[in-house]
């Protein structure tokens, strides 16, 4: 356990707990207060208020709900698709594998962000669409990772041994091979979550994600643009939160990689 890992776990854990519990409190994040249009951080409003007098602390936590949910759900979707396709592609091999891999090459060459923008413009922009679209367009890396693992795992003796005992292919693949591919997948999932949160912020910033008055870090940033000189905290707070969250997720991915992969640890020690 490195300090980086401690920092990320406590930051993300704290953020998640607060984000989950915040709706239990009676305050409305969208309540407008004409007496407090924009106020700097104070004891009454920890993170200050925005141009409509709304409490930024409260709105940040509601924004955290969105960001974390987007992170979890879209990575969940991309895990489901990526791991399944990677497993099958690597396990079946041969022509099927070749076709899937070439398809992935094509998919990876698509400009994902523009695809997401297009979908959001065509369909009604909603947080549900954001999660699905990010999930559906970000599984390719995961699939490659899993496939590469499967290719090496399926040559190991215990796989042949499983077959020699008459285990069906689906048991061999999903029970015996799958767990061996999970270490890199967990790491990639953490990095993917950071990426998804960034994409959601960009979309909300462009007005194509979470719709006002509902708060998300992205639309809070967008909202702050007109007040950068007078109320810089309106931009700084969501900006810092996005940065810290994504950074923590990356640290967590890194830290887990060190914990899970004994070879990584050796290299790490010799470098430091």
């Amino acid at each position: 356990m490195t300090p980086k890992l401690w920092f990320s776990i406590s930051f993300l854990g704290g953020l998640a707990i607060m984000a989950i519990l915040i709706p239990l409190l009676p305050w409305d994040p969208n309540a407008i207060n004409p007496q407090a249009m924009p106020q700097p951080p104070s004891w009454r409003h920890w993170f200050g208020t925005d141009d409509l007098g709304r409490d930024i602390f409260l709105r940040s936590l509601y924004g955290a709900r969105i960001s974390l949910m987007v992170g979890f759900v879209s990575v969940g979707i991309s895990l489901l698709i990526g791991v399944t396709i990677g497993l099958l592609s690597g396990f079946i091999g041969g022509l099927v594998d070749a076709i899937i891999m070439r398809l992935l090459d094509v998919l990876m060459a698509l400009p994902t962000l523009f695809l997401i923008l297009m979908v959001q413009v065509t369909l009604e922009p909603s947080i549900f669409n954001v999660m699905v679209v990010i999930g559906v367009t970000s599984w390719m890396g995961m699939a490659r990772l899993v496939r590469a693992e499967v290719l090496s795992i399926k040559e190991r003796a215990f796989v042949t041994a499983c077959r020699s005992r008459g285990l069906p292919e689906k048991t061999v693949l999903f029970k015996h091979i799958l767990p061996h591919t999970l270490n890199p997948v967990i790491v990639a999932a953490m990095l993917g979550m950071g990426g998804a949160i960034l994409v959601e912020s960009v979309l909300s910033f462009l007005g194509l994600g979470v719709q006002p008055p509902h708060a998300s870090w992205g639309n809070m940033l967008e909202n702050s643009l007109g007040f950068l000189r007078d109320a810089p905290w309106m931009a700084l707070i969501p900006g810092i939160l996005i940065t810290l969250t994504v950074l923590s997720l990356n640290f967590l991915g890194d830290g887990l990689w060190l914990l899970l992969d004994p070879k990584a640890k050796e290299n790490h020690v010799s470098h430091s």
Partner: protein
């Protein structure tokens, strides 16, 4: 029981064809043991894997493999699966590598037992512990919940044998079962296998590079060299009047102690 006729296996490696097994034939009758000796790469394991139907798809197989008169090669995959393990057991050279490191022994044994017998998890576990006792794993009731890496190689091989026995196969293919073990463990494992072979009345196909080990316990010995079965006969014939040059080299290679 097992009839092999003109078994021929070729591998296609980057366009060139490698002839791993070149038209070998032999029979194994119930309760009989057949030894196959040869150096690494002589096609011993490949021919055994062909019987199991577990060669990679890049292998081109020709010839006849019949088990109880039934051609295994034309068998659909899900029927074949019922023969693997249940009728023909397989023991591997490196027992630690043949166990999945992420599951406990209990998990893997119960999975195997339940696959072939309609038993509850608890009954399967008891059966697994009985079998571990039978292969002389000390404190089997507790150690069954350990992971493969917590056992020595010799113990892992005992576990593999127990797992194979749980299916009561008619034929046991032992692919260099003691090659990765030290000599004293090798002796123990071989003795255990001899005992169990008697008890379960199994036929055995014993693959080894050690002519002495094979001759001690097999009714028939086949010598393989570069994919060919160069000589086959009773151990006595092979030892007393070897006809093939390679067989003579093998006999010469058996260490003799002189002071």
């Amino acid at each position: 029981m097992l009839v092999i006729r003109n078994l021929d296996v070729k591998f296609n490696v980057n366009g060139t064809s490698v002839h791993a097994v070149n038209g070998i034939s032999y029979d194994i009758s119930p309760g009989q043991s057949m030894g196959i000796v040869g150096e690494s790469g002589s096609g011993k394991s490949v021919s055994a894997m062909a019987i199991m139907g577990l060669l990679p798809s890049s292998a081109q197989i020709n010839g006849d493999i019949r088990f109880h008169g039934q051609s295994l090669r034309s068998l659909p995959e899900d029927h074949y699966r019922k023969i693997r393990g249940k009728k023909i057991g397989y023991i591997f050279q490196n027992p630690l590598a043949a166990l999945n490191p992420v599951f406990t022994i209990a998990n893997q044994m119960i999975e195997t037992i339940q696959l072939h017998h309609d038993l509850s998890k608890d009954t399967a576990r008891e059966l697994a512990i009985d079998l571990l006792n039978k292969v002389k794993i000390v404190d089997a009731g507790r150690r069954i919940d350990d992971y493969p890496h917590q056992f020595s190689l010799g113990m892992c091989q005992r576990i593999m044998i127990a797992m194979t026995l749980s299916m009561k196969p008619e034929l046991l293919i032992a692919d260099e079962p003691t090659a990765s073990l030290d000599v004293t463990t090798q002796k123990e494992i071989l003795e255990l296998m001899d005992e169990l072979k008697e008890e379960y009345n199994m036929a055995m196909m014993f693959i080894s590079h050690d002519l002495a080990v094979v001759s001690e316990r097999c009714d028939t010995v086949g010598v393989m060299h570069l994919g060919h079965m160069v000589e086959m006969g009773t151990p006595k014939d092979i030892f007393t009047s070897p006809k093939n040059e390679y067989t003579k080299t093998l006999i010469d290679a058996i260490p003799k102690i002189s002071f």
